[in-house]
């Protein structure tokens, strides 16, 4: 072993990334304006410290149990299993969490960290509004002022969530620059952060952004996979053949996948939003239709044109409407450890209705995408197979939009 600067510090296991520079292979890193660098470095140190602090962990566990409602159950979706005619389908029911999605797992962790760091103001970006609602909820619980940036287009299509955030005492700032969707909300949150760098904690909602966010959000979301892995072992005495989740930025998928990365026989399948179809160019499938680039603090796959300008994503689901993807997904994609497929708006709408009718579970439009590929996979694996899908959010928020798409006036 050489003792020079060229010592290879790359982790051995695929699950052990990022490296000291916040890289997952070539992806990730810290691509932010200089004003934010001291903050990012401070955050990294504070997070490392909190991870080792028993008291912090105890507080997290207590709130996850008593406030969020952890552990969420796993559920055998018997009628969908029958309908699809193949592998047994199990849902990890993270839609049963307080606030209705997996997002709160991460918000709780970050807001507790903000408190620990002495930050007095919380900001967040949101697409569908689930992360905004979860952040506003936890901020309300800890008495911290909260500002949520939301694309103007999303403010319109997710009106119920906007009102929920306001009830929770958050200020909702509609962002009309660009296309008024998630990426523009993230730009605006970064602008706020660079302006209020001393007192503000930016709660990023997905496994993207500058290091340590992708790793930190993944760690907070890994409770999904840790619980589900133990639960399915307990119920079936075996691991699933595949773990499936939808992907916008990729936080619920990363949270589900991570505890399974070293289980080589478990296929990890991420479902991106194909919008009107990848061939139409109107989609949000960064891995299928994008190229590596640099945006919002990290290097990852991005939807971009021939001049490196970011292309607007399109999806029926505001939560998947993002032109990038978390860097760890980019890494797992290139390493071929995870498979990435896609589902269209139409398929999601169909699955939204099917799941509601057969299981009495109204899925959010986001996991409805995952269900479309679960259908194919169930046939492929056959009756002996077991599929674990993360039902990452409930669809109440989508009811007005779905009604409109189906031509029903409420």
């Amino acid at each position: 072993m050489s003792d020079t600067a060229s010592v290879d510090t790359r982790p051995n296991a695929l699950s052990a990334w990022p490296d000291a520079r916040g890289r997952f292979g070539d992806y990730g890193g810290r691509f932010v304006a200089e004003t934010l660098m001291p903050n990012i470095i401070e955050l990294e140190a504070a997070y490392e410290d909190a991870k080792r602090d028993v008291e912090f962990q105890r507080e997290m566990e207590e709130f996850l149990r008593d406030y969020v409602g952890k552990p969420s159950p796993i559920y055998f979706a018997e009628r969908l299993t029958e309908e699809f005619g193949g592998a047994k389908i199990w849902f990890k029911r993270d839609e049963l969490n307080h606030t209705g999605s997996h997002k709160i797992n991460n918000c709780l962790g970050q807001v507790l960290l903000a408190k620990r760091m002495g930050k007095t103001r919380i900001i967040a970006e949101t697409g569908a509004g689930q992360h905004g609602v979860a952040t506003a909820t936890v901020a309300a619980r800890f008495g911290l002022p909260c500002t949520v940036f939301m694309g103007a287009t999303d403010v319109e299509r997710q009106a119920p969530n906007v009102f929920r955030m306001k009830l929770l005492g958050a200020e909702v700032v509609p962002v009309s620059s660009g296309t008024g969707t998630l990426k523009d909300a993230m730009n605006e949150a970064l602008r706020d952060w660079v302006t209020n760098v001393h007192d503000t904690f930016y709660v990023i909602g997905t496994v993207a952004g500058p290091h340590p966010y992708p790793a930190m959000v993944r760690d907070f979301q890994s409770i999904i996979g840790r619980e589900a892995r133990a639960q399915i072992m307990d119920r079936l005495g075996r691991l699933p053949d595949a773990a499936v989740a939808c992907i916008g930025g990729g936080s619920n998928a990363m949270g589900l996948f991570h505890p399974f990365i070293d289980d080589e026989d478990v296929r990890l399948i991420g479902v991106e939003a194909a919008g009107h179809g990848i061939e139409t160019g109107e989609h949000a499938a960064s891995l299928k239709g994008g190229k590596p680039g640099i945006l919002h603090g990290n290097k990852t796959y991005l939807l971009q044109d021939d001049d490196g300008q970011i292309i607007d994503a399109h999806s029926i689901s505001a939560g998947l409407d993002y032109p990038g993807i978390g860097p760890e997904h980019a890494f797992l994609h290139d390493a071929k450890r995870a498979e990435y497929v896609s589902a269209t708006d139409t398929e999601a709408l169909e699955m939204f209705q099917l799941c509601t009718k057969l299981e009495g579970i109204i899925p959010a439009l986001e996991p409805a995408h995952a269900l479309a590929r679960v259908r194919d996979l169930a046939k492929e694996l056959g009756p002996e197979g077991v599929i674990l899908m993360n039902m990452c959010g409930r669809g109440d928020k989508d009811v007005p939009q779905v009604a409109e798409m189906l031509g029903v006036s409420l």
Binding site: R30, T35, N39, L295
Partner: protein
């Protein structure tokens, strides 16, 4: 190698005169005419903005300019073409490109550096590539004699300043306030202390920008810095009154800057 930036700052230093740095967005309005007119209007250095769809360190003025430029069809190749056209009649005023990482990364760092050199570009400010991430870009730029200009900010403490100034060249851009471009400027006296600190650590001239809009502000900063940068105000003038209005503003700002006593 000595590039136009070093020469220009040496000249300014010899005259004991603060420099005026004018920022403009390539592709916003008749930008070629504005670019060509800037030296006679008193700009000592030109920052030429490369438009990007997601300019997350910029305020409303420069965001708007970038989107207008993209709408009008501006590309990175187009930016190089404007610089090259400018160079046909001017071989002394340095051009520093300013923009974001993704278009540069997409072109390829080496490819970008080669084309920039060919177009007569002297430096690059890349807002979202901090020192920890810029080795590959810096190596490419160095090979083509293009300065990588780093940003120091009010959050850059002494601990970090060493990292920021290491391997930088040309000048250091001091961002006078925490915030986006076009927001309020920092307090002049605090800026003076910061400039002294950055100059001592880097051994390079220090240009101060962000939030400077009026001749009075420019003069107050110029008394304490090696150069003053104005961007959003020029971009606004260009948008509202065209090349003529932008040139008039640059004349008054540069006169105020050059008249400041250091």
């Amino acid at each position: 190698m000595t590039n136009r930036l070093t020469t220009r700052f040496n000249e300014l230093d010899a005259y004991g005169r603060p420099g005026f740095v004018a920022y403009m967005m390539a592709g916003d309005g008749d930008s070629q005419s504005l670019l060509n007119a800037l030296p006679d209007a008193g700009a000592d250095v030109i920052e030429l903005g490369m438009p990007f769809t997601d300019p997350m360190a910029d305020g409303a003025s420069i965001q708007g300019a970038a989107l207008r430029a993209l709408e009008a069809g501006m590309t990175l190749q187009g930016v190089f073409a404007q610089a090259a056209s400018f160079r046909e009649n001017n071989d002394s005023t340095p051009i520093v490109l300013m923009g974001y990482a993704n278009p540069i990364h997409h072109m390829g760092f080496e490819n970008f550096a080669r084309r920039a050199e060919k177009a007569g570009v002297d430096g690059l400010i890349c807002v979202d590539i901090p020192p920890e991430e810029d080795e590959e870009l810096r190596t490419a730029l160095n090979a083509h004699g293009i300065a990588l200009i780093r940003l120091a900010t009010p959050t850059t403490d002494d601990n970090r300043l060493g990292t920021v100034v290491e391997n930088t060249s040309g000048f250091v851009y001091y961002v006078s306030t925490t915030g986006v471009t076009g927001a309020g400027s920092g307090v002049a006296t605090e800026v003076g202390d910061a400039v002294a600190r950055v100059r001592a650590a880097s051994g390079l001239p220090v240009a101060v920008g962000f939030g400077v809009r009026t001749p009075e502000q420019a003069k107050a900063i110029a008394e304490r810095a090696d150069a003053v940068v104005v961007g959003s105000a020029i971009v606004d003038a260009m948008n509202e009154g065209g090349v003529e209005a932008a040139v008039e503003l640059v004349k008054s700002l540069s006169a105020a800057t050059h008249g400041a006593k250091r």
